[in-house]
Amino acid sequence: MRSPGTALRTRVLHVLILFFLALLMLTARLGYIQLVRGGELGERAQVLRTREISIHPKRGAIRDIHGRELAISVDVDSLYAVPAEVVDPQVAASSLAPIVGLAEEDLVERLSRATSFVWIQRKMSTDMSAAVRELDLQGFHWTRESERYYPKGDLAGQLLGFAGIDNQGLEGVEFTYDDVLRGEGGSIVVEFDADGRQIPRATYSHFPATPGHDIYLTIDEVLQYVAEKALARVVEEQDARGGVVVLMEPATGRVLAMASSPGFDPNRWAEFEPSLWRNPIISSPDHPGSVFKPITAAAAIDAGVVNGDTRFHDPGHIRVPGATIRNWDLGSLGDTDFRTAFAKSANVIFVKVAQNLGMDRFYNYLRDFGFASPTGIALPGEADSIIPEQSGARPVDLAVMSFGQTLAVTPLQLASGMSAIANGGELMLPRIVDGVSRDGIFEPTGPEVLRRVISEQAAAQVRDLMVYTVEEGTAAPASIPGYVVGGKTGTAQKTVDGRVSTEDFISTFVGFAPALEPAVLCFVAVDEPKEDRFGSVVAAPIFKEVVAEALRHLDVPPDRPEEVRPQASEVTSEATDEDEESEAVPVPDVRGLDLKEALDLLGEQSLEGAPTDEGERVAEQFPSPGTLLEPGSTVIIYPEMIAGDDVAPDHVTVPNVSGKGLRSAAEILGEANLRMEVSGSGLIVRQEPRAGTTVPEGTLVRLELEVPED
């Protein structure tokens, strides 16, 4: 028996030390991987293993000031495929292609991509999705997406804007308030094994989507409709290029209506020229023409340069360096006072007034009235005015600007500046959003005073001049029985190709009522009317129709009651005076009737029914039943919208989803148009309501999930 020598022991010790060091090194390496980089590596593994099925949030609705829906979201089906799960792309494509309207080769290509997710067709019609479900193809999955729907069609289209396929706001209020409306997307995260099979008993993470908030506009749907209708009629009559109407509440800066022609239907936005998406009221500065004179007058009166009684001599022309300026009618007023000059819109006198005011003060008032910067309204794409630089302005510029030429402002800038005169001298921030409803709590956006522009006395004096203009001067066609109306006409010369045109005009009108404490201010512009050109003829009737409806709709008490004979006898412009003795008739209640029945019933009362849209039944009417109208007046009828809230929901039977995974449950319930709420994880062990119960579509089904015991 040979005993191992010390040499052997020493060498064994060497081996021991060597391997001990190796093991120590491995421990350090493990510590580095697991403790130092553990989190990062673990997350990367998680990402690799999981597939996320996103749940789109329901976009908030856009409503008018009274909560009427102007834009809503409806749930529709979208189809996607997991290419790895598709057994035979060729077979699947050939059966699917004719239904979804895609080329077969295109589908085969999509289904052969080395990706785990590919859209097949998004936002399908119910018929289409039913036909696809019929095929029961493997590897294809459904997800509910919400599609934007504008129930009132082209009403306020440019104001609302639209949302794209991913529900992202692209134009208008949809764009500006996208972060409020959009909501937050949720997802179902499902873990898959490396071959794409769902892992049994793997925990699902369900992050429910948070719906977006509803927005209440300052717009009143009824007034918006009235404005659009009045504008459309005149644009058609005059064969004009287009036009705008802005209706504001001067005291608060609320925009009650914002109509522009031509408009577009946001439901079919892609079919319209992108230029039609733009809202000209905020994006198209143009020469205001004589409607700008109240601004010049306000500045001069506030500065103490002039008052209504100041005497002037009007020779019919005035020379300024570089030009001779004449009155619009090429006539002269001779010796006159400022009141008359204002009412007759004498350019020559306004040039003199502006000269007395001086360049510096004129520009200061321009800035104070907000004409030198965008108004700051919460709408995208607001343009700035075009005004000569003060440093480079020549005397001729000042002279011409005094009656609204040379400078170009947006309709909203003009309406906003004019509101400062109407409300007693304060410039308000024009507002389009009245408030946001967050989780059922209404958060109003309050009125915001930007600055005082002129004194109350000066503002009152300008209003007097404008009242005088309606009662005695060029603006007479704008008078509204029962109310003291102030106004000013304009006929702006357009600048075409850099030259002032003698053929193309913009007929404008601005005014307010009641004059003492104006409830509404309205600016109208009609672009290139072909039949007439003067604001008094083209624009004033629109003003009269819109403001008369607005005063009645807003229940503004008449401030000249002695003129009111039967109540609201002349509220519509269509009220003809050919039958002066006609008795006012009460508006019948047509709500809930068939559209045809409603029109017949109105016809019996010699009233004209004007449906806003196609539809079967009448949901609302304006004016309300019982209102006295002159025969021949128009009653606006709002048909029920198919996707609106008023539609009685269909009833469905709750399917049985117990024992299913969350994903298949989501598909089954989605198919039945039921919503779901989830608690726990694993497989579904309880559902409420029970399977077999009949419930209205859209009912919330509560699901309880548990990880099954093995």
């Binding site: 028996m1 005993s3 022991r9 491995l26 493990l30 094994d193 892992i199």
Partner: protein, 390 residues
């Protein structure tokens, strides 16, 4: 030296107490090293649990039976335990007498396994031979056979080990022949284990460092050539340096392994809760089972396994140092090095410090032959410990 003289199946059959042989030869067997025995049993038990946890999903997917691999591993563990009890009670000096036949048998099996039609392929690289209905992997067997034969050969004339031609050269010839046949399997991992074990045995037996340096210096270019020869080996070899260079290709194994380890952090995601085992980590119950350990039990689990191998190293080499004779010393050292070297390489691969070679983690990885041979070896090691000069 008597056959069966030390068998301890008497009385209540307690093994650890270690009774002395009744026939009372010159040698008296004491108790085996308790710490070593406990470590081995702990590793085997740990391995069984981990094989179940790591393999259940792939077993379910492949065979529709989540217990498929576990059941087999369990049977092998029982067989291994029986083999360990036998070797634990078999005086190790017996192997000296049969060292030549043992090596011959091992080499024969290895050769036979290379004959097409007899050797069956398992996992694409290791060949197995069916013996009595049981598939045996000769590459696993040869490791133990060589350790026994080399220990025997080296201890006969310690002085000869100082000579290159008389001591080192014959060892190289025998090991070289075995390694060549293992490479033909082709099983690079086992070849490296065999070569490495032989190298450390030569060192322990007293070979001169200069000679060993010459051997290593000669072997390195050959190994390099072998790697370059096979393109897949080259790619595997380089992948560990930057697994993210080809994340879906050759780097996939390593990345998934690192993901699993990383996900475990300090204390793991919980036993049975691995997510990487859902077919993301290839070989999740064989060569890469250590990554699943890391994911489910965290650094605590991986460090524990490394610690267990550390204890095995310590007790094994202590046994070698305290053995009454050189053969016992070399045998104990050879077996210890064989096991710990494998463990080191396996963990090195899983943690991406060594290229992927395809070596199972002793005691833990799924694989009957490996478990059987390792437990049999452990039994021999424990038997040597019974004769320690305390």
């Amino acid at each position: 030296m008597r056959l069966g003289g030390d068998m301890d199946f008497e009385g209540n059959g307690t093994l650890t107490r270690g009774r002395r042989a009744k026939s009372g030869p010159a040698r008296k067997a004491g108790s085996p090293d308790t710490i070593l025995l406990a470590t081995v049993l702990a590793l085997v038990a740990f391995g069984l649990v981990m094989v179940y946890s790591a393999s259940s999903y792939s077993a379910l997917v492949r065979f529709g039976d989540s217990l498929f691999y576990f059941r087999r591993q369990g049977i092998w563990a029982v067989l291994g335990l029986v083999a360990m009890i036998v070797t634990l009670n078999l005086d190790y000096n017996l192997y000296r007498r049969y060292a030549r036949p043992i090596l011959f048998l091992g080499m024969l099996l290895l050769g036979v396994s290379l004959i097409p039609g007899i050797g069956t392929m398992a996992r694409g690289s290791q060949r197995a031979v069916m013996i009595g209905g049981i598939s045996v992997s000769p590459a696993e067997m040869i490791k133990l056979c060589l350790v026994i034969y080399l220990s025997h050969g080296m201890c006969r004339a310690p002085a000869k080990m100082r000579s290159f031609w008389a001591g080192v050269w014959p060892t190289l010839m025998i090991v070289g022949a075995a390694v060549a046949m293992i490479l033909m399997q082709p099983d690079l991992g086992t070849a490296i284990t065999v070569a490495g074990t032989a190298f450390f045995l030569l060192y322990a037996a007293g070979a001169r460092v200069v000679h060993l340096a010459v051997v290593a210096g000669t072997a390195a270019p050959i190994v390099w050539y072998l790697i370059k020869e096979e393109p897949y080996r080259m790619r595997r070899f380089l992948a560990f340096l930057d697994p993210w260079a080809d994340p879906m290709g050759i780097g996939f194994h390593i990345i998934q392994s690192l993901y699993a380890l990383g996900a475990g952090r300090a204390f793991g995601v919980g036993l049975g809760a691995s997510h990487q085992k859902f077919l993301y980590l290839p070989e999740q119950h064989t060569d890469f089972i250590f990554a699943i350990v890391g994911e489910e039990l965290g650094f605590a689990g991986t460090a524990l396994i490394v610690l267990l191998f550390g204890v095995l190293l310590w007790r094994g080499l202590t046994t070698a140092a305290l053995s009454p004779d050189s053969f016992g010393s070399l045998l104990a050292a050879g077996i210890t090095v064989m096991i710990v070297l494998q463990a080191t390489i396996n963990i090195g691969v899983v943690t991406s410090v060594l290229p992927v070679t395809g070596i199972p983690l002793p005691f833990i990885s799924y694989g009957g032959s490996s478990l059987m041979v390792t437990m049999m070896s452990a039994g021999i090691l424990l038997n040597v410990s019974r004769y320690s000069k305390a």
